[in-house]
Amino acid sequence: MTAVDTETRETGSGASPPASHDEAASGRASKPRGKRRLGPGKAIPFGYLVGPLLLLGIWAWGSAQGWIDPRILSAPWTVAATGWDLWESGRLGPDLLVSARRFALGLTIGVLVGLVLAIASGLSRWGEAIVDGPVQIKRSIPNLALLPLLLLWFGIDERMKIITIVLGVLIPIYIHTHNGLRSIDGRYAELAETLRLSQGAFIGRVVLPGALPGFLLGMRFAVTSSWLSLVVVEQVNATSGIGYMMLLAGTYGQTDIIIVGLVLYALLGLGSDTIVRLIQRRALSWRRTLED
């Protein structure tokens, strides 16, 4: 690492006047430099929390100074107190559980469907011919626009909610897995042929691991998309869930409860994204990228 760095630097500074060249080379090459000259540099511990905390800080500061009207946006502590009250009184728990269940079920089914479609379309020309078009069409139709139709088809029960989430989730999974799969170096397929790998071993050892970076990127979109779809379905014809709680609060002008719902969505979204990123870091430890 350091050796390469030093070399690059010396060649680079070769263009500058000779006097400063000697100085620069001996001065800098003597000890390893802590960070790469190009690229984002070393990871900041818990760096992903900085942005959200900054946002929270501005919110708290604005409320304390009285710049934010509590009727428009309740102060963070009011929201926290309301959240605690809701939890204590047992109103929040069941709603949260229902939402979490919808999220998990929709995400799981959506990921599986997206994955199967991506593999079918990625590995076979016929699969692509059949699958790719409809997925691209669905991609350009927002879930919100499909909702009336889904309501007519599946009614207002859980099934319709899960299907809506699944439809939102499978798109990013499909797009990114398919892309990752098609970007696998063709030379590996050649290798697989010379090793006489079976179709199953080829998929298990070459295709899926090779498409994993793409899949995990799709997973990050899918997780967020799952929460977004959840918000939509819970504000249409629902009788439980965080979205329903917010809708109800809206009719009574309870800003603080609405914010509690929003904060919950945000926390859950951030939390699940963090989990996916941790998995990403683990599963892709074979790579060396600017991320490391």
Partner: protein, 253 residues
């Protein structure tokens, strides 16, 4: 199309090619009626200028020429291994998994470890490919090809991307592995000295055919400073269309 028959003739001849034609475009065919036999356990090196069809021939033998068209008769053994110029290790599999990739059965892991030990990489089983040097990666590729006990080893400029010192070490390793496992070998190379050091027979490919062939009969350690070595080199360079020998080799390598 060529036929890839099983190892019926493997006991006498490992490779049998008659009248092989291959081309990628209509205007300029790459192989034009090539004949070649490789005995079982024979080490053959293939030299030729860029575009002479060395790689096309090797890919035809490996069954990797779906994108080419042509005719001819090819017989290769059942068990063929290929070593590419790049090590072609799967970056997402650890070293041992790369070696035993596609092998089934309980003994696979143990055989893979043995093969890694043979190429001097015992203890690196759990390393990721990116943690290895270029030479080490190529040794893993060798282990991966040898663990399958090939009757024919096809090597497409396997040391072309390595530095000169590593290349010399790899020559010794490949020759030692060859002595132990005795596959038939077809080594495609652009390095005349490499061909003379390693092979029993050196072929020069030109205009899609085997233009000349030289049997290397140097006993014991093959030393490039040996006058007989130099004579063979001059002969081969002449066959490659280069007169003057040594100076040009240095320029080339």
């Amino acid at each position: 199309m060529a036929t890839h028959a099983g190892g019926l003739t493997a006991t006498t001849a490992a490779v049998h090619i008659r009248d092989l034609h291959r081309s990628f475009t209509d205007e300029s065919p790459v192989l034009t009626g090539l004949d070649l036999d490789i005995e079982a356990g024979e080490f053959v090196a293939l030299l030729g200028r860029s575009g002479s069809g060395k790689s096309t021939l090797l890919r035809a033998l490996a069954g990797l020429d779906q994108d080419a068209f042509g005719t001819g008769e090819i017989t290769v053994p059942h068990q063929v291994s290929v070593v590419f110029q790049d090590s072609r290790l799967l970056p997402w599999q650890r070293v041992l998994s790369n070696v035993v990739l596609g092998l089934e059965g309980g003994g696979a892991k143990a055989r893979g470890k043995e093969a890694l030990a043979e190429v001097g990489l015992a203890g690196r089983e759990r390393a990721w490919p990116r943690e290895l040097s270029g030479g080490e990666q190529q040794r893993v590729a060798l282990a991966r090809s040898l663990v399958r006990e090939p009757e024919l080893l096809l090597a497409d400029e396997p040391f072309g991307a390595l530095d000169a010192l590593t290349r010399i070490k790899m020559h010794g390793l490949l020759r030692a592995l060859y002595e132990r496992h005795r596959p038939a070998v077809l080594l495609v190379t652009h390095d005349v000295d490499e061909a003379i050091v390693l092979a029993d027979r050196v072929l020069v490919l030109d205009a899609g055919k085997v233009a000349s062939e030289v049997r290397i009969e140097l006993e014991g350690h093959r030393d490039p400073s040996d006058p007989r070595f130099a004579a063979i080199r001059t002969e081969l360079l002449a066959a490659l269309g280069l007169a003057g020998g040594v100076e040009i080799t240095q320029e080339e390598s």
